[in-house]
């Protein structure tokens, strides 16, 4: 089974240290983990560091993967909107990186299947520049999935999606993780999504890991007050699921 562990992982941009001391014991295949935290806390940096796109101190340990570091796929927040490429071409080029020009029929069939699974087959021959932000996020997901990742790092994958699509995508990803034994880390701002879809949660704040563990143990009134500066409760709804209910924020932006 695929496993991922982080040992004192950090990262810097030039001389500015943006992430330090992130330690995580074994994340295993089939698990979905939320990465939460305020804006600019270092969530994307952590993803890039795990994916090997930036260097830094500490160790990213992988085991049980078929392709080593190449089995990690980082899915950035957006995909280029200026490129004169169709959705189909953009997914194809993700699949073909590092291989020859010839495109086999089964590779095309796989693209068809992924676009269909994400319900975007009708967009296949639309230009990337013609898509809405939400549609581009779905294309970005297709570009990631076509690479058959064993470890998928999703950076706010639902930020531009409508509520229906958010739930559809998160359910799809959790099912896929379980079916294929994939490790999924998702940066999320919607804490209710974290509570609903992710068994574990990691809190990143000011470039450090502030908390980690089972999601209901991490998303607590105290954490919401300390990290997010909000007055909130975590209560169980009538269907038995925990939910964050926000009463107010400790405001830093006020009218004069």
């Amino acid at each position: 089974m695929v496993a991922l562990a982080l040992d004192d992982v950090g990262a810097s941009y030039g001389k500015a240290k943006v992430l330090s001391d992130v330690t995580l014991s074994d994340l295993t295949g089939g698990s979905v983990t939320a990465i939460i935290g305020p804006n600019a806390a270092g969530k994307s940096t952590l993803f890039k560091r795990i994916a090997g796109l930036i260097k830094g101190p500490g160790l990213v340990e992988l085991s049980g993967t078929a392709r080593g570091p190449r089995s990690i796929c980082y899915m950035p927040q957006d995909t280029g909107a200026n490129a004169v490429l169709t959705v189909y071409e953009s997914v194809l080029l993700s699949a073909k990186q590092g291989s020859g020009w010839r495109v086999a029929d089964d590779e095309l069939a796989e693209i068809d299947a992924i676009l269909k699974a994400l319900h975007i087959e009708n967009l296949a021959f639309r230009g990337l520049g013609e898509l809405s932000g939400g549609q581009r996020q779905l294309v970005s997901l297709a570009q990631a999935l076509i690479r058959r990742p064993e470890i998928l790092l999703m950076d706010e994958p639902t930020s531009a999606l409508d509520l229906h699509r958010q739930i559809e995508v998160l359910s799809f990803i959790t099912d896929l993780a379980k079916r294929d034994g994939m490790i999924v880390l998702i940066a999320l701002h919607d804490l209710n999504h974290a509570l609903r879809y992710c068994e574990n949660t990691i809190v990143i704040a000011q470039g450090k890991m502030a908390a980690s563990g089972a999601t209901p143990d991490v998303i607590t009134t105290g954490m919401l007050r300390d990290i997010y500066k909000i007055d909130a409760r975590v209560e169980t709804c009538s269907r038995g699921s925990p939910m964050v209910i926000v009463d107010g924020a400790i405001l830093s932006i006020t009218l004069e």
């Binding site: 190449r70 995909t79 490129a83 071409e89 990186q97 693209i111 690479r147």
Partner: protein
């Protein structure tokens, strides 16, 4: 069965294949147009020949009259092919500059590479300054080449500095254009009448000094560099989705950018050092290609080659027929032909880009 139902059962893969086929057909048609343009270019001149005569001299030189053979093979063919190889080189240079700098305005002309080459040439023409003292006989093209490479490298290293945005790069390029143009004006001010006319001639661009040696040099460069770009086709295409996206697909963005810029510098500098400043083709050629086949580099690169070559070859034809008996400077005609054509493409295109 209605058309709608029929479309529904065509898979994405089949649609993709038919689009690829359409692109190949378009490329073939452009290739035929290019060949016709080259033949026409060779037919026109002080001694007018028919297309049939030109084609027979090309394909059956032994059977052609001596005068026809000499005019076609020794005089007109190097000039006609020079237009082709220079157009192809500048267009590909522009295409890859636009790709790696993620900027639609990038081209050898707009980023100051051509202006730097002009300044280098002027240094030789006015002051007799050889930047590479080893080959004084070729100091004009060598100076132009050295300055063009220096400008290209400056743009490249500036683009890799932290905090430098794509917009900054274009501004830097524009600053280079103005700086080198100012320095060129100063040299023109100081130049003798003879040197001044040489500079003016050089900066307008001309194929009249074309030779088989120069054609072969640029052709060899293309033969070496194009396969290198084609090998990186998927990676270069991925770059258009953004650096993070490309890196997430396994592309080593920094290394790709560096090696592409090195090759692009050669593609921009060598033709300019041979034929002088020819603007616009490096900007328009890639845009034409992009509008016709999109940005999948497997098609975009060959399309850029053919569009650039066709643009400059057609320009060469026009430069001979606008005023019969006179050959107008190619750099002037490029803009005159390119601009209206470019407008038609921009306003006629339904594709959205940049």
């Amino acid at each position: 069965m209605s058309v709608g139902t029929f479309q529904a059962i065509v898979t994405g893969g089949e649609q993709y294949r038919s689009r690829v086929f359409r692109r190949l057909v378009i490329l073939a048609l452009l290739g035929i147009a290019l060949f016709m343009s080259i033949a026409l270019d060779m037919a026109l001149g002080p001694a007018n020949y028919t297309l049939r005569q030109v084609l027979s001299a090309i394909f059956d030189p032994a059977g052609a009259a001596l005068q026809l053979r000499v005019v076609i093979w020794d005089i007109r063919m190097p000039i006609a092919l020079m237009a082709v190889v220079v157009g192809a080189s500048l267009s590909v240079a522009g295409a890859e500059m636009q790709t790696i700098l993620a900027n639609p305005l990038a081209s050898p002309f707009t980023l100051g590479i051509s202006a730097a080459a002009s300044f280098g040439a002027a240094l030789a023409l006015v002051g007799g300054v050889a930047l590479y003292p080893g080959a004084v006989a070729y100091m004009v093209p060598i100076n132009a080449f050295i300055m063009a490479m220096a400008a290209a490298m400056f743009i490249h290293f500036a683009s890799t500095m932290r905090g430098v945005s794509v917009e900054t790069i274009v501004l830097l390029g524009i600053a280079l254009v103005f700086s080198f143009n100012a320095a060129l004006s100063l040299l023109e001010y100081l130049a003798s009448e003879q040197a001044l006319s040489a500079i003016v001639f050089w900066t307008m661009g001309s194929f009249t000094k074309a030779s088989w040696g120069k054609v072969a040099t640029i052709a060899c460069m293309l033969v070496v560099i194009l396969p290198l770009f084609m090998r990186d086709a998927w990676a270069l295409t991925a770059l258009r989705l953004g650096d993070d996206k490309a890196a997430s697909m396994g592309v080593n963005v920094r290394a790709l950018r560096l090696r592409t810029m090195m090759l692009v510098s050669l593609l921009a500098a060598i033709p300019v050092s041979f034929v002088g400043t020819i603007g616009f083709v490096g900007l328009v050629g890639p845009h034409m290609a992009r509008m016709i086949v999109g940005e999948d580099q497997r098609f975009f690169l060959p399309a850029s080659v053919v569009c650039g070559a066709l643009l400059l070859s057609a320009t060469s034809v026009l430069s001979k027929i606008i005023i019969p008996g006179a050959i107008l400077p190619i750099g002037v005609i490029t803009a005159l032909v390119g601009v209206p054509f470019f407008f038609i493409l921009i306003f006629g295109s339904r594709r959205r880009s940049w």
